[in-house]
């Protein structure tokens, strides 16, 4: 009974919004578009993005501001979900947002490391909102990565990053990013521990899959691009034991080549993602996999936190899909020119 009271309203809301998400046919249509203007036109005329694009003048829309509009809309929908909850659940939904904040933080840190201008960094930032736990303006105004880490004092990120203050190099940038992801999963896990068993379990089911994918990604990239020794690689792993036991993760880190790596994951659901040894393809398949996974959970329609947690991710994938279609157009457009 309690869970019905807690989740009925938000789940019906989610079901209503899912009904309005972009369909397969609409995706095909978007893909067939020649340029960004026709994409915006289709989004405006045929999809549920009608409302947010209402005041847009199609001729004036460019990639950066369309992305901004989509992200803003995402944030506003996200913020609405928070209002359906109180207590620990509210805190959980709020903390889930740091996943996006971390993406921005990575952009800021990377941008500062590469010496990008303030404007360049600002343009890449997507999740500035009232849900932020850090002050973007202040961080962007700082001179270098050391200052940024120092300025994070008091935030949940500081303890994991302070060790990097002394030496920041290209390789440590990779480590800073793994550490930040680690902070995300640890914070979520801490919050999940406060929930009742049923919700804790579904929470793990969702974050477990995400952590697995991230681990595989790190191991793959660590092995193929950064050539990181296995002992170190294992230390970057987000350990959670969802589909991979600790043993299995160690084995993956110590795999000698990609064939061995693939053999180890062959019997897991993730095998399909790594069938092809091409990074772009892997990223695409990762997204497909996630989409299917969340869709399955959403279809189960259970009276627990799983609906919100998966919808938050599911919707972001839709946004990302649209953005990558646009990027593709920009790229091919450039060639035709």
């Amino acid at each position: 009974m309690g869970s019905i009271v807690k989740f009925a309203a938000v789940n019906s809301k989610i079901k209503a919004i899912i009904g309005k998400s972009i369909s397969r046919e609409q995706y095909f249509k978007l893909q067939k578009c020649k340029d960004i203007k026709s994409i915006v036109k289709i989004l405006k005329d045929e999809t549920n993005y009608k409302k947010i694009l209402e005041h847009c003048i199609i001729e004036k829309v460019n990639r950066v501001n369309l992305e901004m509009i989509l992200h803003k809309n995402y944030i506003s929908i996200y913020s609405k979900f928070i209002n359906y909850f109180n207590g620990e659940y509210r805190k959980l939904i709020k903390i889930l947002f740091i996943r996006w904040e971390i993406e921005d933080l990575k952009v800021i840190i990377r941008g500062k490391y590469l010496g990008d201008s303030k404007r360049q960094i600002e343009n890449k930032i997507a999740f500035r909102s009232s849900l932020n736990t850090i002050n973007y303006d202040y961080l962007i105004a700082l001179k270098n990565v050391e200052d940024i880490i120092d300025a994070l004092k008091g935030s949940i990120y500081y303890n994991s990053l302070k060790i990097f203050i002394k030496d920041i190099g290209g390789k440590n940038l990779f480590r800073i990013e793994t550490e930040l992801d680690f902070v995300y999963f640890m914070s979520i896990r801490k919050k999940l521990n406060h929930l009742d068993n049923e919700n804790k379990e579904v929470g793990y089911r969702i974050t477990g899959m995400e952590a697995d994918l991230l681990n595989l990604g790190w191991i793959y990239r660590g092995k193929t691009f950064y050539k990181i020794p296995p002992e170190e690689l294992f230390n970057y792993i987000i350990y959670n034991g969802f589909k991979f036991s600790k043993r299995k993760l160690i084995k993956l880190c110590y795999a000698n080549d990609m064939v061995e790596f693939y053999n180890l994951i062959e019997k897991t659901p993730y095998a399909y993602i790594y069938e092809n040894d091409d990074l772009a393809c892997i990223e695409k398949r990762e997204r497909e996999f996630q989409k299917k996974y969340y869709k399955k959970i959403l279809r189960e329609n259970r009276n627990d936190i799983s609906m919100v947690m998966s919808y938050i991710m599911f919707y972001m994938i839709e946004v990302r899909d649209i953005i990558s279609i646009i990027e593709q157009k920009k790229y091919t457009g450039g060639i035709s020119k």
């Binding site: 300025a151 994991s160 020794p229 970057y236 792993i237 110590y254």
Partner: protein, 650 residues
């Protein structure tokens, strides 16, 4: 409300915006939008020729001062001030020039930062000594001098601090790490461990530790002796360190005490800078001139003009009343003007909506009718007094000015009706009723409630009609069900009922029937009639078929709602009875108990329940009558509040 357009030279811009923020008289609007709408028209005279010429090169004003870092510093300083107990007085002066405040801030902040850094450093040293101490504790039973352990030929002793999660990883991969690891201390979230690593494999192992985010704790090299002896001297060192931290802390406190006025001044200055930036961002400019637009209420114009005097006629202003404007995209904001008695009730109006500009502010009407209704439903001298007291406390003790103010007035009304009903804390034996005892005249009370309700509704109709006329909305104001047609119909019904009840028919029934049908037809045909009067080409805006379906339902709704709205007011009488009834129940319970103490307790409890429960119900029911029965007649509430840019000097 006036739309004021201001043009001046750039050097004056900063000072003007800051003075406007201090004065708090203007709500800025986007100047470019205003210029494009041609409301911002400069007279083509010789004096204005330069400004006019410049209008061609106009662009949005780009605010360039970057104060994010400074704001963080100010925040730090103010945060530090809060740790010491100092009475904050409003700053006497404020720095106008941005560069000056930057200079002053950096001067104060640098001094503060040096001291703060010292504290941080020595705290860090203290912590690292503590960690060493913990590790030495672990080795305390080893009788070999520590230097021999540290300077081993083939092994290296290491001391590390690591988070619990990463410790789990190290443990899981222990077989692949060429080192002996022993955890010596655990606290919430982290672990300290000692490692013995073969020198040959040192680099590799250190890299692994580093990748697990292990923080190296320096093993003291300058000590000689066994771990136990060293632990003792480390302990002494910790104490020395503590003392030095404490000294610097005192030094910092003295510094803050000496400089707190300056810090507060800087804080206000930055706040002013932010507010002025808010105004500036709405402005437009050319290389020489700035163009600023904003709403200023008429009552503030005087202080605004006074403010301009200090600029010696260098600033040109164009003031336009809302009626003279032709850009309807920018809606004029509404400012409430109410005296202190009615002011608390503004919050109740705002819960429904902000009055649009030009619409009658319903606060006074709501305050009077609501107070009367509440008193009538909750008439009791004693309980009213409790409400007044509660209001007083809310207002003065807990800072809830609006709620407290409303409670006070409602309590007073309750007291007045208490005297009229002769009721003190529910008891009807203490004083005589001046007017009526509700329980003894049930019918009279219910009828009186409806009569008052009719009166309120008629007032509501009148206000609604005035609002529609102000808006020049003939369709609703004249032919609408809340307009003159609806009003005449309602009055007709009331007269008919009164004449039927008093058996003194004024007009034959047939005439009444014609009268009613006539007004209902007006309501039914309101759109075509209004369009004919206005001389428009079309009769029906959305097609005749749709219109008649909708309008005929509206006619039925008119009949129903007039009836239900009027009957609704019966609740005022019913709650007056209910109020007595509830107390009767409690007093019956009290008289059933044998002990005097118990009956007194029941009466007290009863009164508490009546005040809390019935008070709340009556509060809500009254609000319901206001929002649903009355506001729907005359109030739209589609406006925006006047929000001037204003700096609050503490």
């Amino acid at each position: 409300m006036n739309m004021v357009n201001i043009v001046g030279i750039i050097p004056d811009f900063d000072r003007l915006t800051k003075m406007l923020a201090i004065d708090g008289c203007m709500q800025p609007v986007n100047a470019l939008q205003e210029i494009n709408s041609s409301n911002f028209a400069l007279k083509t005279s010789e004096d204005n020729i330069e400004m006019l010429k410049n209008l061609n090169y106009i662009k949005p004003y780009l605010y360039e001062n970057d104060y994010n870092t400074s704001l963080k510093h100010v925040e730090e300083l103010v945060g530090a001030l809060k740790t010491i107990d100092i009475r904050v007085s409003p700053p006497k002066e404020i720095i106008f020039d941005f560069d000056d405040s930057e200079k002053e801030l950096s001067f104060v902040y640098n001094k503060y930062a040096v001291l703060n850094k010292q504290i941080e450093e020595s705290e860090k040293g203290e912590q690292s000594l503590k960690n060493t101490f913990v590790a030495l504790e672990f080795l305390k039973n080893v009788s070999i001098p520590l230097e021999e352990i540290i300077n081993m030929k083939n092994f290296k002793l290491g001391l590390y601090k690591v988070s619990e999660e990463n410790m789990v990883k190290l443990k899981a991969n222990y077989e692949n790490i060429s080192s002996i690891i022993e955890s010596v201390y655990r606290e919430k979230g982290f672990v300290i461990f000692i490692s013995y690593t073969p020198i040959l494999l040192l680099t590799e192992t250190e890299r692994i530790f580093k990748s697990a985010n292990c923080e190296n704790i320096q093993v003291p090299k300058h000590y000689i002796g066994t771990a136990k002896d060293i632990a003792a001297s480390v302990h002494d060192e910790i104490n020395v360190m503590k003392q030095s931290t404490w000294k610097v802390r005192i030094e910092l406190n003295v510094f803050l005490r000496e400089n707190h006025k300056i810090i507060e001044k800087i804080e206000s200055s930055y706040e002013l800078e932010q507010k002025s930036a808010e105004i500036k961002k709405s402005a437009a400019c050319t290389n020489e001139f700035f163009y600023l637009s904003g709403w200023i209420p008429k009552s503030f114009m005087e202080s605004f003009n006074k403010l301009l005097l200090s600029f010696d006629n260098r600033i040109l202003i164009i003031t336009k009343d809302t009626n003279e404007r032709n850009n309807k995209a920018i809606i004029p904001p509404t400012m409430f003007i109410n005296n202190n008695i009615f002011k608390p009730f503004e919050s109740m109006v705002l819960m429904y909506g902000v009055p649009s500009y030009g619409e009658i502010d319903p606060t006074m009407f709501l305050a009077i009718t609501y107070t009367m209704m509440f008193g009538a439903m909750f008439g009791d001298v004693g309980q009213g007094l409790v409400l007044v007291l509660a209001g007083f406390l809310l207002k003065n003790k807990w800072g809830r000015i609006n709620l407290g103010g409303v409670f006070e007035i409602l309590g007073l009304s309750s007291i007045v009706f208490g005297f009229l009903y002769g009721s003190v804390f529910g008891s009807e034996y203490v004083i005589n009723a001046i007017l009526i005892r509700p329980m003894e005249h049930i019918n009279d009370i219910l009828i009186a409630a409806i009569v008052f309700g009719c009166g309120f509704l008629i007032l509501g109709f009148i206000l609604g009609i005035i609002n529609s006329i102000r808006k020049k909305d003939i369709e609703q104001g004249v032919f609408g069900k809340e307009g003159i047609a609806g009003f005449m119909f309602y009055i007709g019904v009331l007269i008919l009922i009164v004449s039927l009840v008093s058996k003194n028919p004024l007009l034959p029934i047939a005439v009444w029937m014609i009268y009613f049908i006539f007004f209902l037809l007006l309501i039914l045909l309101k759109q075509p009639l209004a369009n004919i009067l206005l001389g428009k080409d079309i009769l029906f805006e959305d097609g005749a078929k749709d219109y008649f379906v909708e309008a005929s339902f509206e006619v039925i709704e008119t009949l129903l709602s007039m009836f239900s709205n009027t009957i609704s007011f019966i609740r005022v009488g019913a709650f007056a009875l209910n109020h007595v009834g509830l107390f009767v129940a409690f007093s019956a319970m009290a008289s059933m108990t044998k002990s005097g103490f118990a009956s007194v307790m029941i009466l007290i409890l009863g009164n508490i329940i009546i005040i809390c429960l019935e008070g709340l119900i009556v509060f809500i029911q009254g609000l319901r009558l206001q929002y649903y029965e009355l506001f729907s007649k005359y109030y739209e509430g589609g406006g925006v509040t006047f929000k001037p840019v204003r700096i609050r000097l503490k």
